[in-house]
């Protein structure tokens, strides 16, 4: 099971009410390479991975839940006190009509989250390569988001999240190296 901590992994600040940016950020909430997809992908894969790498995938999946909460916090703060008019002007009129300010798991274009965003092949190399690719894609998304904002506080949080993708990619790459080792086989032959 999981233990909830009444704290964010990193202090999230935004310096202005900016529902337009919230609309873009939702990509990392309910999009194909977002934090929800990442968390679910890893936490689902771990059941059928070799023991040597379960811990790696389990713990990165857990950290993704913390990132999901950070993204949600950004979206919440960026829209919290926006008026209906401001939501409409930011291109969130359709969202507002259905959800008010509630967060919803969809991407920046409004497509609802789907389990088909990630795979579970059962082949550890195939799964870990997907994980590495997922981290690089999420890193890219953070870059495109950083390119679209001039809010220094928001940028700061996005930079943190982007750097975490770099570290996760590194650990998944190491997991592949661990599986390439002959260790177990040496004893058998």
């Amino acid at each position: 099971m999981w233990v909830y901590e009444k704290k964010l992994q990193y202090p999230v600040r935004v310096s202005k009410c900016d529902p337009r940016m919230a609309k873009f950020l939702i990509e990392q909430y309910g999009g194909a390479d977002g934090e929800l997809a990442a968390a679910l992908r890893y936490l689902n894969q771990r059941y059928t991975l070799p023991d040597q790498v379960i811990g790696i995938v389990n713990d990165i999946g857990t950290e993704e839940l913390a990132h999901l909460e950070m993204i949600a916090t950004m979206v919440y703060k960026l829209t919290k006190d926006a008026t209906a008019e401001e939501m409409k002007e930011a291109g969130l009129g359709a969202h507002y009509a259905d959800h008010d300010k509630a967060l919803f798991f969809h991407n920046a274009a409004g497509a609802p989250f789907t389990a088909t965003y990630f795979q579970a092949k059962g082949d550890p190399i195939a799964d870990l390569y997907e994980d590495i690719a997922a981290e690089e894609k999420a890193r890219s998304t953070y870059q495109w988001l950083i390119n679209m904002t001039d809010d220094p506080d928001l940028k700061d949080g996005l930079q943190f999240l982007r750097e975490r993708e770099v570290v996760h990619s590194q650990r998944f790459r190491e997991a592949v190296e661990i599986l390439k080792e002959e260790r177990g086989a040496k004893k058998i032959f």
Partner: protein, 84 residues
């Protein structure tokens, strides 16, 4: 010494409707080069680590918008990790 940003020049047609970006870039961050992380690498102090998103300088590669002032072309040098 390698860089964490690479650059290339996209083909420019006389019929391209927008003012061309002369140079495009992409990121090649440290995890592409590190291999299995060696033990005992230097660390940031804890405050810096949180601020930067990693404990290890060797994995730290901050991103800045390379196209900020790029209309009509700049960022020509293939980049350093810090530029932009």
């Amino acid at each position: 010494m390698f860089t964490y940003r690479k650059a290339y020049r996209p083909y420019i047609s006389p019929w391209d409707p927008c003012p061309p970006l002369l140079v495009k870039t992409y990121e090649t961050p440290p995890q592409l080069y590190m291999g299995f992380q060696p033990m005992g690498l230097p660390q940031f102090n804890s405050r810096e680590a949180l601020r930067r998103g990693t404990l290890w300088p060797a994995l730290f590669a901050p991103y800045t918008n390379p196209y900020k002032d790029a209309k009509g072309g700049v960022c020509d040098d293939g980049g350093t990790p810090m530029d932009g």
